[in-house]
Symmetry: C2
Subunit: 493 residues, 2 copies
């Protein structure tokens, strides 16, 4: 507070960073590229976890916990996985410190591990290694396991929530008797993600399949949900992978099928992370601060009594507390901000910064008139209502604001998907930001050439049944060769 924040127009990246810090969501830790998620940010992450965890359990999954450390040799077992993935990782080589005799400590050179251990960047290898012992016959399938965990990828350029060395996520790892079942599972979980993002985060997403070069190392197909940030860049919100029999083969996980024959198991994995926190901030917030969807806001309504000097404010406080009690009774998360060391204007700015969806203020005149001022954060509008109407209005605003945020983000997103027919158009439109919906010849060469020339990547090949009409065949914007359908390009986080 106090200092003004960079605006989105001035410098979007700086605005984002300022906002995360000033709103008390997170900060950088003493370890390079790692973050501290502060209580306010963590409360939002907890709310996300609660909703997702319930959905995972409703869809038949159970939680478990697998180790943090992976023997180095495990990474070599699945060839594509090691080629494409496991490079920038934190490596544990020793297991003891000792005093250096001068008040400091040093690593004990005698405590060197025979085999180095890697802090998990993802847990496919560990899980499939355990699944080998858990799966004997078709009766043990499907195995539907999730874990909430911290993982680590030694990123060189980090940004709070969006790309940090350590981050928090859930990773589902399932095993199935047939390919069809495994594909069904990966698509089902992609849909769970999409519903969560649209229904809870209020972020519209496009579901699609990744091109081969953007696919997870070790997967047969990677499904993705993609969203658009306010600066016109795309962000991958989560992925779900059909692993085929790749990890089952690497870790020799077989089962006796109903016919009594031994077969390799089919797998999936799927994950979403604290990256969603970054998307939540970037999609909804404005130059005044965070804008939080009510479903995730730690405080949904703040009540501010505007007391006059040293007068007796007992009646005012009583009216405010009564309203707070009524709102709590209706299941709304409220806070009464009666800190008398801070002025009302400061408090208004503070709660705007922290994205509290609704602010209620009551002063001396309101008390006389039996009214309260009701302000909504999303539209920064306010109205003065009789006390008898306030609770109903606040309750209605919870869903109104939730819906408004989603619709607003969808209008922006939809207004920023452009169909282009040639490469000049492609480059021109890309500069404006947003998704470019264009024909591509399906080759990795063309994909790489487009990325090289424009920094745009194929975000996904959209799945059917969404508003994005695939629009039939055409010719590739770059090569002019035949294209079966349009795909979605964008510059991305």
């Amino acid at each position: 507070m106090g200092q003004s924040m960079t605006t989105r127009g001035e410098d979007y990246a700086q605005w984002y960073n300022d906002l995360v810090l000033k709103s008390g969501m997170a900060e950088y830790a003493a370890v390079r590229g790692c973050m501290v998620i502060k209580p306010y940010g963590y409360a939002i992450w907890e709310a996300m976890k609660d909703v997702l965890d319930r959905r995972f359990k409703e869809t038949g999954h159970v939680n478990a916990a697998f180790p943090l450390l992976i023997p180095k040799s495990f990474f070599s077992k699945e060839a594509a996985h090691v080629e494409g993935f496991a490079k920038e990782c934190a490596v544990v080589t020793h297991y003891r410190l000792k005093n250096d005799g001068q008040g400091g400590i040093v690593v004990d050179p005698e405590a060197k591990l025979e085999e180095e251990l890697i802090i998990r960047p993802t847990s496919e290898t560990l899980m499939w290694n355990a699944y080998k012992g858990w799966i004997q016959s078709y009766r043990d399938l499907p195995l539907l396991i999730n874990q909430w965990a911290n993982v680590m990828r030694w990123e060189m350029r980090t940004r709070l929530f969006l790309r940090t060395a350590e981050f928090y996520w859930q990773e589902g790892h399932t095993a199935h008797a047939t390919a069809a079942e495994a594909v069904e599972e990966s698509v089902k979980m992609l849909n769970v993600y999409a519903e969560f993002m649209e229904g809870t985060l209020a972020i519209p997403v496009i579901k699609g399949v990744k091109s081969e070069s953007e696919r997870f190392a070790g997967a047969v197909d990677t499904y993705t949900v993609e969203a658009l940030m306010q600066d016109g860049k795309a962000l991958q919100m989560g992925t779900s992978h059909f692993l085929g029999q790749n990890f089952a083969r690497a870790f020799d996980v077989t089962f006796l099928n109903k016919e009594g024959e031994r077969d390799l198991v089919w797998g999936t994995s799927w994950g979403v992370s604290t990256r969603m926190m970054g998307a939540l901030i970037m999609v909804h917030s404005d130059d005044e601060g965070l804008v939080l969807p009510p479903k995730l806001a730690p405080i949904q309504a703040v009540l501010i009594p505007i007391a006059k000097g040293k007068e007796d404010n007992a009646d005012l406080m009583a009216a405010v507390e009564a309203m707070a009690a009524e709102l709590r009774r209706r299941g709304i998360r409220v806070k009464v901000d009666d800190d008398d060391t801070k002025r009302p204007g400061w408090k208004f700015a503070e709660h705007e910064l922290r994205g509290v969806p609704v602010r209620l203020a009551m002063g001396g005149r309101d008390l006389e008139n039996g009214t309260m001022e009701v302000a909504r954060r999303d539209e920064r509008s306010k109205e003065t209502l009789p006390l008898t109407q306030v609770a109903d209005r606040v309750e209605a605003l919870m869903s109104e604001i939730q819906t408004n945020l989603f619709e607003r983000a969808r209008r922006y997103r939809d207004g920023n998907i452009q169909r282009v027919e040639n490469f000049d158009q492609f480059q021109e439109v890309l500069e404006l930001g947003g998704f470019v919906y264009a024909h591509w010849d399906g080759t990795a060469e063309t994909e790489a050439a487009i990325k090289e020339k424009t920094k745009a990547t194929i975000r996904c090949i959209p799945m059917d049944g969404q508003e994005l009409d695939a629009d039939g065949a055409g010719v590739c914007v770059l090569s002019g060769k035949p294209s079966a359908r349009r795909v979605l390009f964008a510059r991305a986080y």
Copy 2:
């Protein structure tokens, strides 16, 4: 299943290990000393977390997330902490792998960290380093933060849940304006732990203070809750530390007090871990398997229809499903085990092994008579009841079993606290197992000598207000010197 389990009488340690594995709670992972918590075990841990997390929030705490890795230099900042604690730790020295050109991977020698990073064995140093930026004045205090996290201590001898290299815990780290407030907080959280252990885990605990040599490195006082296992060994269930100003001093965390003077902050930290899972198993279980308190049992009642061969069992199944629905309506977690590939006897043994508190069975004759067999796991007793009485009975059993487990454990514990007056008695009684309540002269030398001779340690100096009467002054069992009060000795996990 199938193979019989080692009994407690034969080999308690082996019984424990067999039980953890066979009941599907956990298993050893591919990384030495680390465990996989399997879904059944994890569901119990989740239930524990839910109850504790709610209590932490009710007592004003908020959650946050701090990094996994700690710069090595942080450990040197608090002198006692480095002396007494941070030795057996996993050390990260490199941040990249590379292909060895032969399908394998090696650690890239060029990617060596300038300063080694330690996987957190506990997070005092990291948190206090962050708190420095968060605390300016008395208005920022108290700071009441908790985190649920994985931590790692490179233990040489490991046992599932009881002592593993990686384990899961919560660690509260709070900052206060006065010493009195910080002491109050540490005792408050010790009481939260004790209530949780007695009320939810059904494990009676003794609250006390640690002797200096058993104290947490860096603490001024360590409070502890101690329980007795069925083999007569004690287990430290959780600790709460009054840190004084030690970490504030080490990390220069000061605040402006109400008088406008700068002062060092006072701290606490407190934690309980997956070790409680081990205690839960060891305190209640028997030679047939787990015995779970209903409050934590993932399945509280299992319903087993005993169908006859190929007959039409529709009526039987309908009656069983109706009962399951009624129990669910009452908030009881039920499972209908209608797997027709397994015989009833096998199922009975399986659910006993997994500690399901209540088993309901219904066969053809029950159907005719309108009855069900109701069996309780804790007493291994059963009764046949009219269907109209079953749901009420099961509901009542939930609290009856919970209470019975606690009372049973308390009787055992109380029967195994012996007062002794001299060292011969001390040694004799110790061999029988349990707590020995004896006079001690208060010196570290005597404490060490007793440990050396008997392997018994001072578990705690019991706090006042518990059933253990301090019993006034006396003379030390070993040295014969004056003793202000009795303390509790035992061999411990």
